[in-house]
């Protein structure tokens, strides 16, 4: 069970959280005009990172807030926790959805 530091509440056990998948995948603003390929990429294509992964968590059984985290998938250690809307800390390459 991971220990996760909610940016609003502090360190809490994983039981209080729900995983939210890969971070920084914004829903396209112009969804109805997107090509099938671009829409499919948005819907279904996710990284399967070995190493540092930007991901979303929600403190469901706490403040209810979503936030982002960088986690090393080889060790499960968190490298950074940051709020929704903030850029991932440097040195991380995030995949952009082709628009």
């Amino acid at each position: 069970m991971l220990l996760i530091e909610c940016p609003y509440c502090g360190e809490r056990p994983e039981l209080e959280f729900v995983y939210g998948g890969q971070a920084h995948i914004a829903r396209p603003q112009n969804a109805p005009d997107l090509s099938a390929q671009a829409w499919s990429d948005y819907l279904y294509q996710r990284d399967n990172t070995k190493g540092i992964h930007a991901e979303r968590w929600r403190h469901t059984h706490g403040c209810g807030r979503f936030f982002n985290a960088l986690r090393d998938t080889t060790t499960d250690h968190f490298i950074a926790i940051y709020k929704v809307g903030e850029a991932a800390p440097a040195a991380l390459k995030t995949r952009k959805v082709a628009l």
Binding site: L3, Y42, G64, F66, D76, V84
Partner: protein, 1005 residues
Amino acid sequence: MNGALRVDAGGRINRARPLRFTFDGHELTGFEGDTLASALLANGVHLVGRSFKYHRPRGILAAGSEEPNALVAVRRDDARYTPNLRATQVELYDGLEAHSQNRWPSLSFDIGAVNDLLSPFIPAGFYYKTFMWPRSAWKSLYEPRIRAAAGLGESPTQADPDRYSNRYVHCDVLVVGAGPAGLAAASAAADVGARVILCDEQSELGGSLLGEPDGARAPQIEGERASAWLTQTIDTLTRNPRVSLLPRTTAFGYFPHNLVGLNQRLTDHLANPHPDSPRERQWQVRAQEVVLATGAIERPLVFPGNDRPGILLAAAARTYVNRYGVIPGSRAVVITACDEAYRAALDLHDAGVFIATIADVRAQAYGPLAERARRAGLPVQTLTTLVGTSGRLRVNAVQLARIGDDGKVIDGVQTMPCDLVLMSGGFTPSVHLFSQSRGKLAWDDKAQSFVPAQSAERVRSAGSCRGTFALAAVLEDGASAGSAAAGDAGFANTARRPAVPAADPAIGAYAGALPQPGESTGHKAFIDWQNDVTTRDLALATREGFRSIEHIKRYTTTGMATDQGKTSNLNALGFVSRQLDKPIPEVGLTTFRMPYTPVTFGAFAGFARGDLFDPTRTTPTHDWAARNGAVFEDVSLWKRARYFPRNGEAMHAAVARECLAVRKGCGIFDASTLGKIEVVGKDAVTFMNRMYVNAWTSLAVGRSRYGVLLRDDGFIYDDGVVARTAEDRFHVTTTTGGAARVLAMMEDFVQTEWPDLSVWLTSTTEQWAVIAVQGPHARRVLEGLVEGIDISAQAMPHMSVAPGRICGVPMLLFRVSFTGELGFEVNVPADFGLAVWEAIHAAGQQHGITPYGTEAMHVLRAEKGYIIVGQETDGTVTPDDAGLAWAIGKSKPDFVGKRSLQRPAMAAADRKQLVGLFTADSQVVLDEGTQVMLERDQRPPVRPLGHVTSSYYSPVLSRSIALALVAGGRARMGEALYVSTPNGDVPVQVTSPVFYDSEGARLNG
């Protein structure tokens, strides 16, 4: 023979406290401080079980938790019957009842032993190769037979009546293992003020020190005998309030972020456990720093016939003599590749055991221990291997052979009678927990073992679990690990070191099979005792092309028993390495998984069983429904009244009566479980337009609409009536099971996609009691109760919503129907739900008001073709598939799922569409989930057109009805299709999914 096989004094048993116990019904005696294994050996019992596959007679190999052979069942009563316990870990208590396993009719004469003779026909991969065909025979024939013939213990026949508790705890330093390294580490950390937990799987703290001789031959620590140092060290730790000592506590798993699972056995060692005491306690320890002092396990040697009773690990025999005062045999042969065996030989010699010879496979044995053995007059033969053993139920002789300078075995064997064989292939560091923590291992050539290298967590290893074996070095290693751990946890790092004289270093280790003559003796050489895996099995696997150790493991099952290969993995690796002619590090290592030793299921369940297994949610009218005879069903966590049988009615009769009451008079139904979300804010309507498919801008205050929610993949996720109660406020209802996930999805969009929207979401599911009053008389029932609202057909048409009061309490009244009849849903604060329900029920008596349950609700809605999300939908159903395309706001620029609905495949004519089915025989009720087919009695493979999603008997229509998803269904109206039933395929006619009142006249009444 009671007590005959004990030394007169010494050891950690209490000779003043004899304990009676039985083994397979034989009454025996041991002493307080004994394990079942030591007590059996003291009674001369070496044969304790039969092996898994070949039913070979097996004895006690080890003295600790690594024991692969001596698995027994301990019985207190029919429910308290624990199979597969290691006799080496079962503490003796007065009256203990133990049974051997895997034998019939008796341990000494076991019919299943014929498997041993048949073994040429049961090679590795036998199951995979032999029982392939026919497929049906696997379940009916092969599996039951294999299960009856193989396998170990039997399950208890009754539910576990014991209690199990659990505890979460934080500490600065967790020390796993209370041998010399662990004690030194815990002391060092405790000395500087750290909160320390020290756990050990054994009944006493002390680890390997417990197996050392006392008195003149005792090892010295800090100028005193090890036993005295042990007593004093434990005493100091016990008096420190910041230290928790947990004996009988196994660290079974290492989880991320330094969470370590401990399983503490509280009562298994007691003759009469207190009835209120939990049997076990599971600890979840979150430690700042962890010190692993888990020790090392002696490695057996692999030679033909190495599994006979009477063949023990050398260090285990030493423990039996020194700790338990047991003499495990009278005439011993020692076979070794490690100096430690000389120590065992010396201790046994001192206890009066005749050492016939010490056979050392190495060319040289000139370490201090070997010299001491020679000085004591013990015969030592180097370059000697063991090529065979004899003795049916206990070893009675061994065959030794010389190894030439070329490493090959020289012809000619020397037979040596004995009743005890001690073997040592060196020690394997216990890196299980370290490896579970994702730490990296490195190969240590000297110890022929993997040792911890790179930590992934805040963990360090100390002592023999990292290949440090000499006592002095172990103590120093433990103390410095404890100091460093405390330092990293924020305390002073004072390198405290106990002063110990230099001890004999243990040198030598062996991985693989001992050299054998070219001619095979035909005897099995076991690598994995518990799963009966031999050198021949591993050789077969490599011959058949297996290269990866992970594949070889699965093919041969080596290391896959409950002992997880504690004694076998390194020998398997060594053997395979030689077969493949690749160094061991290149062969690789299999994954270590939790639990270290088996853990009782009850310990994981803890208090979460029976009534506490899951929370139960009840509605405000629950007790009323129970009093009125309701039969409940579980809907997610809710208890919902399914039907209200009267006078012993069967379910179908009660449901028919309830349905007709709603159609002809009036019914009352508790709909409180519907999810309710209040969507509030100046952007509430924008938010709703983006989330739901419907157009919300045009919805007037005081009106409601059926809303459909998709995922972005275009498939239906949820549905429900949504009312606009103010310009900036929507009362959104969801399905009962979907309430939480719909709110989570909304929150996701609000927080992460559209943070610019001014909108707030609040779950109000449990704040409202919802009482549905449905049927032609519904208005008359409510007329006298409702205050402040004109509920006439003109003033309050279908789908209108109005605030008011009822019975003096505030109310939100919906004119809404899930039955197709004139209907209302009375929403009142939950605390008033029961009183209002009772008032409506009383007022409805003159109109024949009838409480109905979820079953009647299902029938009534199916008669109207109303879908239930999760029943008519399965995550692949679009609004159009379900006949709900009309709900979509066509002019909206976007909503969740819109882009996906534009995909050509989503409009394909052959998509499965919701239709009704009428069986040709109106009284046949189809099974839900059954396939719908184009033709009758097709031969497989059959490609079905779809499946039945809902099926009921409709009382008002006096016939069966069914909803189905059928490919191109709407174009098949009137067509005849077929649905399978237990009595064969039956014809059905495709029809509209609306079976009753398709014009909606009753709804608008």
